[in-house]
């Protein structure tokens, strides 16, 4: 195990990720503004927005039952709980247990199901549309995600997230580089789908008909909306962190350098998402499943490469 077992450091990293997560959206928006030749919103804009929203009173539709109010709270808590299993850079999660990767994926699934239910609770046709699309894409995204976990489990011979992402595992000699690249590419696609980014979902569209995630949360305001924004940024952070840990170079000088490199790489992936969003148009909804099935095939190819070459 190349992990340092230092719980203090891990908790520090955990707090850092809770604090820094909304920054990712700032970075993405800055990059997009740069490509468009604009100045764009401030880097900390989401923090200001969340602060402003959290001080407001809530507004709930008369149609809704308690589900609308329950969903953002519970999905935020589920996402934070999922983050408990992500190793903080070079520090193994203190809560890690065998099989926590399944728990991790299913907690994110819970957060998604609650969002879908809350959308249906409003009785709005737009929200229904978004929920229906989300349910559709998530089936395939889940399959790709688990295929990636299978690949990592074969390499690491474990199903504990901290072991799967052990910095040593992917750069071990004997593992073909194309396989690693295929998996990382597929995981990047999963990040884009799960976090509702272009080319699968346009977070900035202004037409309800074309939205997925934004359509589901049309009826939220005030503290609930702040919680939803925060949940989204935490989810993006944890996915970027997992991708970073997959690819983090093997030999890092010391814990401090390692930490800084880890945080820097997460930001780099945010820049990458910004670049992808700037240079690509949104896919037609009918094409999204094709891309997901394609990435499933890519991961399964990687598994075959791993087993036979």
């Amino acid at each position: 195990m190349m992990y340092n077992v230092n719980h203090g450091f891990w908790w520090a990293m955990f707090l850092a990720s809770l604090l820094l997560a909304p920054l990712l959206f700032g970075i993405i928006n800055k990059v997009k503004a740069f490509f468009a030749g604009r100045r764009g919103p401030r880097l900390l804009q989401l923090y200001y927005d969340m602060f402003k929203l959290s001080r407001k009173a809530g507004i709930f539709s008369r149609t809704t039952s308690g589900v609308l109010q329950l969903a953002p709270i519970m999905s935020l808590l589920a996402t934070i709980m999922a983050m408990l299993f992500v190793p903080g850079g070079l520090f193994r999660s203190p809560l890690a247990f065998g099989g926590d990767v399944i728990f991790f994926c299913y907690l994110l699934g819970l957060s998604r199901m609650l969002t879908i239910l809350a959308a249906m609770d409003t009785g709005s046709s737009f929200a229904g549309m978004g929920a229906s699309r989300e349910a559709h894409f998530s089936v395939l995204a889940e399959a790709v995600l688990f295929a990636i976990v299978i690949f990592l489990a074969i390499v690491a011979r474990s199903i504990c997230l901290s072991d799967l992402l052990s910095p040593l595992s992917l750069v071990t000699p004997g593992i073909s580089v194309p396989a690693v690249l295929l998996v990382a590419g597929a995981f990047f696609i999963v990040i884009l789908v799960e976090n509702c980014r272009l080319p699968f979902d346009d977070p900035e569209t202004h037409l309800e008909l074309t939205m997925i995630h934004e359509a589901m949360i049309l009826d939220y305001a005030g503290p609930e909306l702040a919680m939803i924004h925060y949940t989204a940024s935490l989810k993006l952070w944890s996915f970027c962190a997992v991708l970073t840990l997959l690819l983090l170079p093997q030999r890092v000088a010391g814990p401090l350098t390692g930490m800084l490199l880890y945080l820097a790489l997460i930001m780099v992936f945010a820049v990458g998402i910004g670049v992808v969003e700037s240079i690509m148009a949104r896919y037609r909804f009918l094409k999204v499943p094709h891309l997901l099935v394609g990435s499933l095939a890519a991961v399964l190819t990687a598994v075959l490469l791993l087993l036979f070459f």
């Binding site: 809704t64 239910l117 009785g123 229906s132 074969i154």
Partner: protein, 637 residues
């Protein structure tokens, strides 16, 4: 009413007795599983841990469903209620006896009584043609299953040449699979469950179909050297069943049909887990074996309590609104908060998501499959990989299916008058679903403690080589998700209380749902359940045999626009109906033998006897001196 209370009391005592015996059996002595306790010497009535394991859901659901029936039957005449209680108690008695019968004739007898008595319950609403048809299909399935079981017992006790050892196993899997609802053999479930009264569906779906799995464990897995064959057959049937069940559940409009298909899915998951366990024994991957069996066992408990609660909830919805069609419901959460809340919580749990208890079982099954991927080789590895991908896909589809049920029935605006006028049902009905919700919460909390109680059974199933990966290890593995789930529930509840208090202070306002500025949003603008599932249905169009009827808007001021999406279960329309049709035509051809002359019949019989005599003398040689090998050798090998 009076007889209802009586039968509830009887079921309660059965439940208590089972629990008592369970605790007494394993609690202190360490529970040797092989030592079956003989109840009546000589005629083969005995119990052991395996029997107790399958008796528990029967007793629990029998009790809760009996109490629920009291409310459900309210308003039916005395005659019909009397019939209902007679057959309900008969079914329950037979179900309680099935796991105790060891000798083939007694087992078949109770098995058939169980089938026929429940047939009478399925056609409880015999005025409706759909009920009669459902009952007919169910009766056919019962008898076909019994026929296969008789053949299995005969093949089992007769000397077979070594090349034919697979025969009893395959016959048993078909016979028991008909009761459990394996793919292709499942056709009776989606028609019988909506036809039967809700408490009966709860008992049938929660407990009775699992007796099919009991039969496989008791009579198929432990006889013959067919471990490998059984493992592969079960795993692959389970894979197909899980996927097929949930895909067919998606387009359903009737709540109970959807729940029935979801039962097929869950039986598929359990079968897959048993298959993984058996293959773990056969290929000597002990971790996979014990994880697979414990996952199957835990999922069986969870599914029994959850699906029972969901069917009872559907019954409450039916009593309150008079319909089970999801396109006519909606907005019931505000009108029936207790039933709605319990239903939503149970459905969320059954879709396999974490704070629910069904996650724990699926977690173990995932762990078993991952164990196979990591430690297995060749085909076993490929199968485990396929199992994981299937479980993930099935999980996603189950989320979609249950999101559809919850939102179409309980959320949004009511889509018809009957839903708008619904009121909360009586406390007996409501209390039953809440009680089962409590059972589920207990299962979530107690799973790490319940599992070690079945240690002797599990080590017996998974073989002695599983000693490296013991049951307490698994319990430890389970304790983390179990504790964290409870923690999540607790923290969420606190946070919501806090948010509501904050809302009261800040004076949260109520508004209308955003509708692009239209002034009067109506329920017709809502997404329906079918519309919600449509993108996924299109993806599986070839399996579902989708038919789309579209009436496009015509002229300048269109009067009517309709879109209709229908699906069909191909197992019935493409497999069984043509097959039975062909048999029927063949049977008509034999009419020519019915000449009406007595001496012609006698001649036919004499000829048949002579042919059999000749065959018996010359062709059939008995050459198998070795008795069937003992069970322990089977497993340890």
């Amino acid at each position: 009413m009076k007889i209802g209370s009586c039968s509830a009391i009887v079921s309660m005592s059965a439940l208590l007795l089972t629990l008592l015996v369970l605790v007494r059996t394993m609690g202190f002595t360490g529970g040797p599983w092989d030592e079956t306790q003989l109840l009546f010497h000589g005629i083969g009535v005995a119990y052991d841990l395996l029997s107790l394991l399958f008796l528990l859901p029967v007793a629990l659901l029998g009790l809760v469903a009996a109490i629920h029936s009291i409310g459900y039957l309210h308003g039916h005449g005395a005659a019909r209620s009397g019939l209902y209680w007679f057959f309900y108690n008969l079914t329950l008695a037979a179900m309680l006896m099935v796991p105790l019968m060891r000798s083939a004739p007694l087992f078949l007898l109770t098995w058939e009584v169980m089938g026929i008595a429940s047939f009478a319950l399925v056609i409880f609403d015999w005025d409706a043609a759909a009920s009669r048809r459902a009952g007919w299909i169910y009766l056919l399935a019962c008898h076909a299953g019994a026929a296969f079981l008789i053949m299995m017992f005969v093949a089992d006790s007769s000397p077979l040449s070594p090349g034919m050892l697979w025969l009893p196993a395959v016959l048993g899997i078909i016979g028991f699979g008909l009761k459990a609802g394996f793919p292709l053999l499942h056709v009776w479930l989606p028609s019988a469950h909506p036809a039967a009264p809700a408490p009966v569906s709860a008992v049938m779906s929660g407990a009775m179909i699992k007796l099919g799995l009991y039969g496989i464990l008791r009579f198929v897995l432990f006889s013959g050297d067919t471990l490998l064959l059984c493992g592969w057959l079960l795993a692959i049937l389970g894979l197909i069943g899980a996927l097929l069940g949930i895909v067919l559940a998606l387009p359903q409009r009737n709540i109970k049909t959807l729940l029935a298909y979801s039962s097929i899915e869950n039986i598929g998951i359990m079968t897959m887990a048993y298959g993984l366990g058996v293959l773990g024994v056969a290929y000597d991957v002990p971790g996979m074996a014990i994880l697979g069996f414990s996952g199957a066992l835990l999922h069986m408990f969870n599914h029994a309590a959850l699906k029972g609660a969901l069917f009872l909830g559907a019954g409450a919805v039916y009593r309150a609104t008079g319909t089970l069609n999801m396109e006519k419901l909606g907005g019931l959460m505000k009108r029936m908060p207790w039933t709605g809340g319990a239903f939503a919580a149970n459905a969320l749990s059954l879709s396999g998501l974490p704070p629910g208890n069904a996650f724990l079982g699926e977690f173990l099954i995932y762990a078993a499959a991952f164990n196979g991927v990591i430690n297995g080789h060749g085909p076993l590895r490929a199968l485990s990989l396929l199992c994981i991908i299937t479980l993930a896909t099935v999980g996603g589809l189950a989320v979609a299916a249950y999101a559809k049920v919850i939102s179409a029935v309980f959320l949004g605006e009511p889509r018809s008058d009957c839903a708008a006028k619904a009121r909360e049902v009586s406390w007996t009905m409501c209390g039953c679903t809440l009680a089962l919700l409590l059972v589920n919460l207990c299962l979530l909390f107690l799973a790490p403690y319940i599992l070690p109680m079945f240690t002797p059974l599990l080590t017996r199933l998974a073989g002695e080589s599983a000693a490296g990966f013991t049951v307490p290890d698994i319990a430890l593995l389970l304790s983390m998700p179990s504790i964290l789930s409870l923690f999540l529930i607790g923290v969420s509840a606190t946070a919501i209380r806090w948010r509501q208090r904050l809302g009261a202070r800040r004076q949260d306002v109520e508004g209308v749902t955003w509708d692009c500025g239209y002034a009067a949003p109506s329920a017709r603008m809502e997404y329906t359940g079918t519309a919600f599932a449509q993108p996924l249905l299109d993806a599986f169009a070839s399996v579902l045999k989708l038919r789309r009827q579209l009436q496009r808007p015509e002229a300048l001021f269109p009067r009517e626009i309709r879109a209709d999406l229908n699906s069909q279960d191909r197992a019935l329309s493409s497999v069984w109906q043509p097959l039975f049709g062909r048999f029927g035509r063949l049977a008509i051809k034999t009419h020519s033998m019915q000449s009406g002359f007595l001496h012609a019949y006698i001649l036919t019989m004499v000829l048949a006897l002579v042919v059999m005599l000749v065959w018996g003398m010359f062709c059939h040689r008995v050459d198998r001196p070795t008795p069937p090998t003992a069970v322990t050798e089977e497993i340890s090998k």
